[in-house]
Amino acid sequence: MTDALVVASIVVFVYFAVFNLMTLALLVMSYSEIAWLVRGRQPRRGGLRPPTHRPGISVLVPAYNEQDIVVSTVAALLQQAYAPLEVVVLDDGSTDATFERLADAFDLVELPVGPALPLPTAPLTSLHASRRAPELRVLRKENGGRADALNAGLCIARNELVAITDADSVLDPDALIYALRPFEERPDECLAVGGSIRVANRSRFAHGRIELPRIGRGVAAMQTLEYVRGFLGTRIAWSRLNGLLIVSGAFGLFRRETLIGVGGFLPRSLGEDMEVTMRLHHLLRPRWPGARVAFAADAICWTQAPSSLSALRGQRIRWQVGLLECVRLHRGMLGRRRYGAGGLLSMPYLALFEAISPIFELGGYAVAIVLLIVEPSAWPWAASMLVATLLFGQLQTMMALLVQETGFHGYSRRDLTRLLGWSLTECVWYHPLLALWRMTGTVKLLMGRRPGWGEIPREALADAPHEAVSPLTR
């Protein structure tokens, strides 16, 4: 019995060692990229081309019952340092005053919706333009979910590129300029670009932008770490390998025609952002030489992360179900050379280390506990395994923070110290909780009890009202 448990603990340890070493390799690759990015940011002339020579961008903002934040989000988007720009708010059948708040703030008037939409969506109710902001459109439609709203936006949008974002997200003023760069660098290859998502909780929001990034407490701090690891850590490397399988729904830039061509967003999907990115790879990589999905680390979008455990639980269960569904839908890419790094590296990584890791993680805890009960003298062994696993995790965090500090240097010394402090507690409570929730998601999916979208309670960003520069700013 003891031998079997020791063997099981070794299997779990080796699994996590391989996972951590792979992630670490990605982080090292990201570090070399980010170092370039920083140095390349020094003297630069020329700037942007004149607006007549730039592709137009339509920013799609799906909103469902977002009355508290929608006006400030739109006002911030309208301050983007990019033209030609169109902001399309997609009111997905809100039952609160989302539309009324927009109508008051931006003085909306109705336009004809017009016929002939290339994608099927829930019925459209009305289309509105603004007297105060000519680049703003508001589309009202019956509720159909986020993906359905985005599909309606794709049909209505007038520019060749579409950026998708959330009503609770704030783009840095030059986010679109940076996101556009991969399209300019590889005009005939780039399919989509993912932006870098940061946690905005407790940060100071003024002049339509995050002026002072801060670290939240507890759950928010942990998510800050997760986002730094995920976005600055691994996505830069996946992008370099051309194996990026997810463009976050919080901020991504796509070719409009290409998205419509592959059928738009999958309406019932819980991970519609990942699914559509995988579909782009799945359908287009074999036919489109050099096709790639890129990541722009400089294109920053600030989002509000769930600040309570219950909200986080719902989100993570949803994410796990979404991830498993995407892996199942696009399993045809797994291990296939024709999909390049997407099929040979990213997909196996996603399936082996993201989708089923909760089984190994929870299995590891169970084995350690049983081992200690059956063979109390084995505690040094169990303890050493646990410490090694913790240190592997910490190594990832440190490497990701190094990438963050090298590239962006946004947080104050105090906040960074706090972040490091929180990271030391991560493996004790945060990781086990995440593993448990993800396992719950897996079980729910297996039992056919698919979770709904639910609602995430929003925290107002720490606004500085005296600094508001426009009557449109909240």
């Binding site: 063997v7 140095r39 020329g46 017009g114 410490v387 090694a388 910490q394 440190m398 500090e405 240097h409």
Partner: protein
């Protein structure tokens, strides 16, 4: 089970991981301090050059102000001199050409340009990028050769910086290597090469003329816009003829769309026949571009083409056509006919663009 042996191995792993974690912690601290050091250095340089820039911009005696640069550059460490020169010229953006020329000459005398040229061969690739960037601003005719050599650099970032710098210098001597790079479409973003060639005038126009016949689709697309930007040097008629040829003969819809789009940068009174014909192109992107470009021609024939397009099955084509009709309704020759077409139309797009236009008013 040899638990003891395994246990010892795991502890070695733990020790190793602890050491690496501490090393990374130290690296984070060092990185933070580096930011601080760099920021202070930048601030110190900016403080030093600010009074000189002020005198160069607003003072009476430019010669004396230029002389003040000598002691300034003498005390600065050699490696920061090129960047300081860049900052200086950047600050002098509003100065007249005479002042800028005097400063450039002084920088040459202080061997700053020479240092930047030497830096294009440094081992660290990002330093080579920086040197190219700096040469783009402070470089002279002698720098062109140095930058052309960098077009074969093994790092794409260096090649890109060299292309941009050559464009900034605007020397026709760079036309041949840039044209070769453009036609090969290899290793440098084509938009960057296009921008640099566009700054070379007639020498650059030749590259676009060749590019229109390239087997590469992206090169042909870029060349359409490139040649349209050279109407002054090549002649409007010649540009329209080249674009019409693409619009009529190219098998790729995206190239035809680019040719139609580019025509709006060469406006005139008579709409090109090929553009009018493109209103019936089977590819929606071509019709979209055509609808937008027709607004650039004050020609009743354009109104005739746009009328049916306002009810096009492609939503964007229809909207753009209605918008173009609205634009033409304000023009001298096509105005009356456009107003009549708008009045007679029952297309939803006309209602939409009218409502939008009223908002603007």
């Amino acid at each position: 089970m040899p638990l003891q042996g395994l246990f010892e191995t795991v502890w070695w792993v733990v020790l190793g991981l602890t050491a690496v974690n501490f090393a990374l912690f130290a690296a984070i601290v060092v990185q933070r301090e580096q930011w601080v050091v760099h920021r202070r250095l930048r601030e110190r340089i900016a403080r030093r050059i600010a009074p000189v820039v002020d005198r160069l911009l607003h003072g009476d005696d430019i010669g004396q102000a230029v002389d003040e640069l000598r002691p300034l550059f003498k005390v600065l460490p050699r490696q920061v001199r090129p960047v300081t020169a860049w900052l200086l010229l950047d600050g002098l953006g509003a100065a007249d050409a005479g002042t800028q020329a005097a400063v450039r000459k002084a920088l040459g005398d202080y061997r700053v340009i020479e240092q930047a040229e030497r830096a294009t061969r440094r081992r660290m690739a990002w330093r080579r990028v920086l040197a190219c960037d700096v040469l783009g601003t402070i470089g002279t005719a002698t720098s062109v050769g140095v930058l052309v050599q960098r077009l074969r650099d093994k790092r794409a970032e260096v090649r890109t910086a060299a292309v941009q710098a050559l464009g900034e210098l605007g020397s026709p001597a760079a036309a041949a290597p840039l044209t070769e790079l453009f036609l090969r479409q290899d290793g440098v973003p084509i938009g960057v090469v296009h921008d640099s060639l566009s700054r070379l005038g007639a020498a650059g126009a030749d590259a676009f003329r060749q590019g229109l016949r390239s087997p590469r689709v992206t090169v042909r697309i870029t060349s359409c816009f490139g040649i349209a930007g050279q109407a002054e040097t090549v002649g409007r008629g010649a540009v329209i003829a080249l674009l019409e040829q693409r619009l009529r003969m190219d098998g790729e819809a995206c190239v035809r769309a680019a040719a139609a789009s580019a025509m709006r940068f060469v406006p005139g009174d008579a709409a090109p026949a090929a553009l009018l014909g493109a209103a019936h192109d089977r590819a929606a992107p071509v019709r979209r571009s055509t609808a937008k470009s027709l607004a650039a021609f004050d020609d009743p024939a354009a109104v005739e083409a746009l009328g049916p397009m306002a009810s096009d099955s492609d939503r964007e084509t229809a909207l753009r056509s209605a918008e173009s009709l609205l634009v033409l309704s304000e023009r001298r020759a096509a105005g009356a006919q456009a107003r009549e077409a708008l009045g007679a139309s029952h297309a939803w797009t006309v209602d939409s663009v009218r409502a939008t236009a009223e908002l603007g008013a």
